[in-house]
Assembly symmetry: C2
Homo-oligomer: 327 residues x 2
């Protein structure tokens, strides 16, 4: 089977590629080819037992989606997106990539015809929801996003459900939790601190905590995110029915609980590398975010994630630090 990852240069896309290379199969079917596409040339995963092609291109440019469909991939992971902050800052770019790009892809699939009907896994976001929220947001909570990014993701979900209903492809939209611990350097995303306060201290570096320890958020590890994608690509979607957008499972914890888990695993010396530096702007932004979800539908469909924040930290130490941290 031929697999295409659009957004293959991103953190989740690259990890998904590594997983597919390692497994050599998806849902019991051998992988015969893997194509990675992104606006920058995706990294080449090593050790693949099948051909891997990396492509640079812009899904929002005429012809790109058609080019990607020429090889008729059996499974398409559509992970490409302009992230929330940028989609809010650049109205045109957000709509062009997140809405037009997605629609171009769906229409290019339709244009193939000839009985072509791939599986499409689309990464949506909990940003499709807008405050005020119930205590735990259920799958059937209405989508009233408060950002252009959330609007574009909600529209992607609607298109995916309609195109699936019409038999153009067999799609599922998975709403990812905040990915924690995100590897790499600290960045300027408002959500960056959730990962920074774990990753940096474990690397012997100082991290800044800009909010109170009472702040609660919804997390899953990068390994779980890849697990969601693989599971979404292989489950029987007839069971999912016409409501094709599913909130993925995650863990609702406070920043204080994150820190306590770090203390248990790595000790007081590591925790002492977290410096409190309250930031009013970040505190205000984060106060509008969702804190907790009822992901029972995803769990009943077989999606799984970490049950404790200690697990999330151990995944980071295992997958990113070779099992060691700076005590």
């Amino acid at each position: 089977m031929h697999i295409l990852i659009i957004g293959g240069a991103g953190m989740v896309g690259a990890k998904l590629a590594q997983r597919l290379v390692r497994d050599g199969q998806l849902g019991g079917r051998a992988i015969s080819a893997l194509t990675l596409q992104d606006v920058v040339v995706p990294g080449y995963p090593s050790g693949a037992g099948f051909p891997v092609v990396t492509l640079q291109g812009d899904l929002s440019v005429t012809g790109e989606a058609e080019r990607l469909m020429a090889s008729r991939p059996d499974v398409i992971f559509h992970l490409a997106a302009i992230v929330s902050g940028e989609a809010e800052a650049d109205f045109d770019k957000g709509y062009r990539i997140n809405l037009d790009g997605t629609r171009y892809l769906f229409d290019a699939i339709r244009a193939v015809g000839d009985g072509y009907r791939p599986r499409v896994v689309f990464t949506s976001s909990i940003a499709v929801f807008g405050a005020p929220f119930p205590d735990a947001i259920p799958d059937d909570f209405f989508t009233t996003p408060l950002t252009s990014y959330g609007t574009q993701k909600a529209i992607g979900e609607l298109l995916l459900s309609d195109y699936s209903r019409r038999g153009i492809f067999d799609g599922i939209a998975i709403r990812l939790p905040t990915i924690c611990v995100r590897p790499g350097k600290p960045n300027k995303a408002a959500s960056g601190f959730f990962s920074n306060i774990i990753r940096e201290p474990l690397a012997g570096l100082e991290a800044v905590l800009p909010v109170s320890e009472a702040v609660r958020h919804w997390h899953a590890s990068p390994r779980s995110a890849v697990g969601f994608l693989v599971h979404a690509a292989t489950i029987d979607l007839a069971i999912v029915g016409p409501r094709r957008a599913v909130t993925m499972p995650g863990l609702s914890v406070t920043v204080g609980e994150q820190i306590e888990a770090l203390r248990k695993i790595a000790g007081e010396r590591v925790v002492s590398r977290i410096r409190r530096e309250p930031d009013e702007t970040i505190t205000r932004i984060v106060s509008g975010w969702s804190e907790n979800f009822d992901a029972s539908r995803a769990r009943s469909l077989g999606f799984t994630s970490e049950a404790t924040f200690e697990e999330i930290i151990r995944v980071h130490i295992d997958d990113e630090l070779g099992g060691h941290f700076v005590a």
Copy 2:
């Protein structure tokens, strides 16, 4: 103030134009000009105390939305749409008119700039919801449409909310009930019988009832629909908040209750003109439709509609039959 009605040749658009001509004002401000646009030349409302312009054009064609914005209308009623059955039968046409056309309009408003920020009233539909339903569908029920038309309307709602949030215009999406009694000839719409069984007997003609009397549906009169539009154009949208899609009030009655109301108003002889002719296809289609809504949010915002089906019939007799029917 200058008012634009896109879809001005339709039944609701024409009635809205007549109402505006009669009132001469909207929300206490004198109307200085009215523009009616549609794919066919809209009828010219008689007796206007201000200039009325009728335009033929296709909103989904490049340049049409910009042309309409050149006069910077203060209030825009966007009623134009490919209806449910046609949007389902013609995938491309439905998406082109209902999605692209709406987006072209919204982007043309944005392109005006220079502080231009009109009121936009967009007619959405209860088709944004998909079965299975609760007993009464609340405003915060999630939008999982089961038709392309419903998908396109749900996307229009999302775009309208985001563009409003960003201050590009001040928009509200109103989800209309089924309009009953719809004037004119019987048509082939699956919902046609709800009106046919009242309108035709009152005109001395036979009507066909293709479903059981137990079928329940959600109705408001054409006069109420016009009332919703006028109210939506004039209320303070700051009170509505960021959730800009509102299900309009209506009346949930069974076909049996419709017939009983007709009997009370017009007598047994009129009712006897309804001929039962069960149709499996229509019965199946209608069985997937919503039956009842909780429109308390709309009511709290001041939207009103008929409290009994007798009222709905009287509106028809008054507005369409000059107060008389064929006994």
